[in-house]
Symmetry: C2
């Protein structure tokens, strides 16, 4: 896809999606540099790049540090910006930190691109959370943008930065609005990246998977391999410049049906519906699934891994590598 | 209107609109505290409060400083948040400073309210710039929000904060989307608050008023007295809680017609159409005027000062007090 010998910078490259992308880029012959703040809470884990550790350059640093970003960006052809604070709950408890990471750092990064390397191509991970509570389903990219939590507000602000810098300064970027992503490398200590992580942990530990509410709310899911493929297509294809695309699977499933499916993967895995904790209820978006026609048409992306294939492999991965993801208390 | 003996905090109270509001509140018997960073570039001018200086408390400080805001907010019934970076051009040159003032400080301020004084009522000055290039005219509050510059993006982010803190934390606030505001107390050194300021200066100095483009673009205007009245109504009326209203005059005028009108107020005032400077052209929004039905209906606000009445008085004010607003070079 045109990445051979190209210089690629991945922010958050030790994390869940960033490490999967790094692996694909190494396979494609790219020269990959990772910058990561190593915060386990944000998903950084050296184990995620164990097989490519000698083939990538890893910098420990924070995207909020301008001097760090300047040198790295000046020497890159592609920037995949995956570093971020992803927890909706945490964004409500500590909104200023979420702002620093998801707003200030992105603006800083774009300013560095404008001043030091306006020819760079950026692919940025945004989130379906920018839509807020869906007005209709499936949600397409023209849906109103009415985020219901601080994290959603900040991701939307960042999207507007990328669009503005594309329109006014000609900085090429593509925004992907990710939905629930699962697969090897995800954080399973808690639900801060995706609740599926905490369900996998419960399944392996013989605990009950907790479904909030009555479990009828529907969601869509992407396996991390499909997500990485979309990132690669968005970076390589000029059609994607200045564009915003939903990811998703084109299908949807209720949380109860998902829990039932996952329970079959454990040794008598249990699940239970429990009332929404109030701090989650107030920022819950109800039913969601995305329309992925646009990225199918324009970038020819088609998700290839079904839940029925992806979930068993993922659970098996965490059974094998449990202690790499659950630190002793 | 219920401000008698109430404790009112005005951020940016030495500025154009803040000082006019402070005067009205002092007349209404409120106990007014002003916090202002004294930055002349942002419009701070002690001359603006010369007649009420002994009746208000003025703190020199920045809304970005949390410890300063904590004590002030804890002891206030009303907060009028008028401090801000208003220059669209400046926001493009130095986007991170605009972010600190128009995003970070607002989030900080709301966090302080949530933690220290959730019963406070906030009225916040936003801007028509959140709409971007109008899709239709007049622009009502349901118009898409597609800002075309950094300042517009940041003001929109702040609006979303206020709405979220109202919905989730019950912090009462009202957002007013201001349009071009003119009148005594405005900055006339340059066009950073409103281009009318720079036209007034040109008129008084016998220079040519510069109209960008062909002058056919239309705008609407509010006299600062009408703007202050809207702020007061929004603060006093519970109907306004959680609401967003356009200001405006319900009328519109082309920039050429405005220049012609203003030229009659000088001694042979001159004006000329000149090509848009590129840095202005790329963030120009074309024609704009707002629909003010909503605030008319819900708060019974009616702008009372026409351009034909307000402009001569304003120009006369600056003839009298020129040296209070134009510092020697």
């Amino acid at each position: 896809m045109g990445y051979h010998q190209s210089r690629v910078l991945i922010t958050g490259g030790l994390g869940f999606i960033g490490s999967c992308l790094a692996r694909r880029l190494v396979e494609a012959g790219a020269r990959v540099t990772i910058i990561d703040n190593l915060r386990e809470y944000h998903g950084a884990n050296f184990f995620n790049i164990r097989d490519i550790a000698s083939e990538v350059v890893v910098h420990s640093g924070d995207v909020r540090q301008r001097h760090v970003m300047e040198a790295l960006i000046a020497n890159s052809d592609f920037l995949f910006h995956l570093a971020g604070q992803t927890s909706h709950l945490h964004s409500m408890d500590d909104p200023l930190t979420d702002m620093e990471i998801n707003v200030e750092a992105q603006l800083n990064l774009l300013e560095v691109c404008r001043q030091r390397n306006p020819g760079i191509k950026i692919v940025v991970a945004s989130t379906r959370q920018v839509y807020g509570k869906p007005c209709y389903l499936p949600v397409d990219e023209r849906h109103p943008l009415q985020p219901v939590d601080i994290n959603g507000i900040h991701k939307l602000t960042a999207e507007q930065y990328y669009n503005l810098y594309f329109e006014l300064h000609g900085i090429n970027s593509c925004i992907l609005r990710l939905t629930n992503t699962y697969g090897p490398g995800m954080r399973i200590r808690d639900a801060s990246q995706c609740f599926v992580g905490s369900w996998i942990r419960a399944l392996i530990e013989g605990e009950t998977m907790r479904v909030f509410g009555d479990g009828t709310q529907v969601r869509d899911f992407n396996h991390v391999d499909d997500c990485a493929e979309a990132l690669l297509l968005a970076g390589a294809n000029g059609t994607a410049n200045g564009r915003t695309y939903n990811l998703g699977s084109g299908e949807h499933i209720s949380l109860l049906a998902l829990a039932r499916k996952m329970a079959t993967l454990g040794d008598g895995g249990a699940y239970a519906c429990i009332p929404f904790p109030p701090e989650r209820k107030r920022i819950d978006i109800g039913d969601y699934y995305g329309d992925i026609s646009l990225i199918r048409q324009e970038l020819h992306w088609t998700p290839a891994v079904s839940l029925d294939d992806g979930l068993p492999d993922t659970v098996a991965y965490y059974r094998r590598h449990y202690h790499q993801y659950i630190l002793p208390n």
